[in-house]
Symmetry: C2
């Protein structure tokens, strides 16, 4: 094993901790709607159901979300990697991404948040907490509704579960690279 | 799209937001060493380099980590999924996982944390912060050293980057299922 100590590595290029399941955060503020890809994200609690996303303060979505106090978290299929890439690299300050990328919007069920067609799952989140960690803000939402595409999910446990034979989630590999899972590699160990 | 509103879903079975890159948290406290798999995790900041892991307060690792105030975060290959599964389902209260699972330990470079052989990358983390979110504690560490296996990494950007042709990261798909990526699906979009 090689070692890089603090001062010898630049975590901005810390792609060794990738690939990661990338999500798209959606916010609606008055008549403005914006979507942004977020690679740093994680579930945080079962009950209440909480989910965190990490967004740099300079990003357009940051203040917009903290004003709207609600947001959506969408999971896109690998086939839509180009859109996910654009959501992450084009700023909502300059471009109306909904119009520019031809995003169709579906009806939310619990909150006033944008639900993009094409995602296989979308969480409607109410603001729960936020905290600055270094150069990014960790924004936590409480899940108030879950949308999911029946065509790509199984229904074990009375809950939608991704069926890897039918849906391939898009993972971000770092440096503009996208990748998905190999359904043949599934191993059930419990 | 189908919708489940709050009260209609149990996020304990929220596998629709999987698969996720699973990490193994290692802690040393006095002469005791323990490892635990953590599915909910995320990078949080470039500078300082911060990384968060979500651990339920009832877990043996929880108090052990908050006493030791330092920990390691390891990334294992798909081929070691059985060990990752055991790290996550067997408690360090009952079993000495290092001895039981035959884990060889390597030398740390910056902190007194356990570095497991077999991982393709390990981060040495100093305690930075922790906060209770619902039923799990979000524990944040500041990365003081990065270990990585040269055999499975490329070196773009003067930083180790996972080479998906040589290393296949282990992802957790929920419900005891493990999966890895398909190297043929890599698409460079930037």
């Amino acid at each position: 094993m090689k070692v890089l100590k603090r001062g010898e590595f630049n975590f901005r290029r810390g792609y060794i901790v990738y690939p990661r399941l990338v999500v798209v955060v959606g916010v609606k503020l008055e008549d403005k709607i914006n979507f942004m890809s977020v690679v740093w994200n994680s579930p945080l609690s079962f009950d209440p159901p909480l989910y965190g996303v990490s967004i740099a303060p300079k990003r357009y979505t940051h203040d917009m979300l903290l004003t709207a106090m609600e947001f959506s978290i969408s999971f896109f299929p690998y086939e839509m990697a180009e859109v996910v890439e654009k959501f992450g690299t084009v700023s909502g300050r300059e471009v109306d991404k909904v119009k520019e990328f031809g995003i169709e919007l579906l009806e939310p069920a619990a909150l006033d948040v944008p639900i993009p067609a094409g995602a296989y799952a979308v969480l409607e989140c109410e603001y729960f907490d936020h905290k600055l960690y270094g150069d990014h803000t960790w924004i936590v939402g409480e899940i108030q509704a879950i949308h999911y595409d029946e065509r790509v999910t199984g229904s074990r446990y009375n809950m939608p579960v991704l069926d890897f034979d039918r849906a391939r989630p898009v993972l971000y590999g770092g440096s503009g690279e996208y990748i998905t899972v190999d359904p043949r590699s599934i191993r059930k160990l419990r």
